[in-house]
Amino acid sequence: MARKLLIEHAEVEGIASFDIYRKHGGYASVEKALKTMSPEDVVEEVKKSGLRGRGGAGFPTGMKWSFLAKPEGVERHLVCNADESEPGTFKDRYLMEKLPHLLIEGMITSSYALGARSSYIYIRGEFMYILRILEKAIAEAYKNGMLGKNILGSGYDLDLIVTPGGGAYICGEETALLESLEGKRGNPRMKPPFPAVKGLWGNPTVVNNVESIAAVVPIVNHGGESYASIGIERSTGTKLISASGNLVRPGVYEIELGLTVEEFIYGDDYCRGIANGKKLKACVPGGSSVPILPHYLVTKTAAGNDRLMTYESLSEGGFESGSMLGSGGFIVFDEDQCIVRNTWNFARFYAHESCGQCSPCREGTGWMEKVLYRLEHGNGTLEDISLLEDINKKIEGNTICPLGDAAAWPVAAAIRHFRDEFEWHVQSPNEALKRNYGLIKAKLEV
């Protein structure tokens, strides 16, 4: 069984309470950092760990931290991005619900490293019940001297505030999150300036994903090098994977990066194969925005190598035959699933979640959704397929924030790998509709 650095104690009775969390070694990283390390030491350990942002982009966390501007007399902030909304991703929810103190511990240690005196957790509004769990845990942390003035006698002060969103995927984009945290519409900002220079209320700010912040705890406890010894190449440490779709055992798994995809899908310790004895048709390995892989590219790369759960291996072959690790939202499709229907579904998601600020995304996502709706519902033409490819190219790279790319990639990949299915929808619309709606019915009976 693989090492678990984050959720080892997740199922321990009462672990959400301060005392029991503490008994299981909790808050050791705060003690170690505040009593024996300088903020620079902590940053150095995170750099050595090779930790990469767990929210999806995979940018090295230590490097992101070192970009933080530190002008004299200006407040700095650490903001935790708990706006987990990428379809297929539900790992942060699990972590926060089960181990609220792990996130708080990570926030304290990381805030110390960055010199932040007031830090924020922005959690999606739909997770209100988790916000309550976090509020309770934060109150406990204050009571036990882990937050507030002069933490553990170190002279370091920190206030931690948790605040909800209101239902907007776009607020997972860091500058949109900051806008939202300032009480505005979640319109992403133009960059530069980056948040590291001008973030929350114009102050230098680091925005990190829940899992990235939690990972700082084992990194400080065991040292960056120890963390980096897990994994392969530039994919170090462990990663939470949210497995969903047609699997025997969907759920959240902590894996050591480098695990084979084969083992993850079929292994006894993990998802245990495709549900209902069906065959694998396709897989989206990193959340809805990353390219879909057809079954023959899931466990092996185009070059014939074993596909591994790493940033590098999942993207082997580029967008032609690869995908991305993204946020670790691992969505599995069985042989009955319709790729056209699913692509339309994702396109509808992005059209619904576009903020509407810049024209390619506002108009392009809506247009793609409408064309895909027609295709799925038997009113498409072959030209529509090439139209989609073209709209795609006109959105990708031309928008203010990555939502445009996120909307474009799944459509491009679906057409790239499943063009025949799109054509079938055009050429035999009635058959396609009959199959899809026949299959949709009766699923709840299982």
């Binding site: 942060d92 505030i161 605040t163 209101g166 939202g329 699913n342 998601f349």
Partner: protein
Amino acid sequence: MKIDFPQAVNEAPIELSSHTMTEIQRVMDLFPKGKQKSAILSILHLVQDELGWVSVGAMNRVALILDIQPIEVYEVATFYTMFHLNAVGKNVLEVCRTGPCQLVGSDDLIDYIEEKLEIKVGETTKDGMFTLKTVECLGACGYGPMLMCKYQFYERLTKEKVNEMLDAMREASK
């Protein structure tokens, strides 16, 4: 989905309960002085918790509380999809319709609830007990099909579980 809001005439700011006002004060105090607008989403949630939805009069009250122009509240409230800008039933069933849930039967779930409650998505039952809405991903992909009601997640739903859930909600909202 088109968010349809009424072109209402201006409404006087409504009064909120003292409990809600105390909570509003608490969430405003979380932020540094002068940054109280940051609490606007928390406040809108609190308002909706009390009223069931967010009316023009309620938004006008929020504007007064935060000392901002009403339009700033409308702009925010219409951006975020959790806020109901029209009156809704006592229980708003928000069914996730996004990919991973669709793979495990959310379309069927929506059909079943429509049939069971004799309403379509977006409608409210005649007795005002239920409103059915579809929403995008709620972050419960491994536990679908699912829905949210009053911030509570109902997961791995089957017809049987839906029946039980609806009965329990009816009972609780009597």
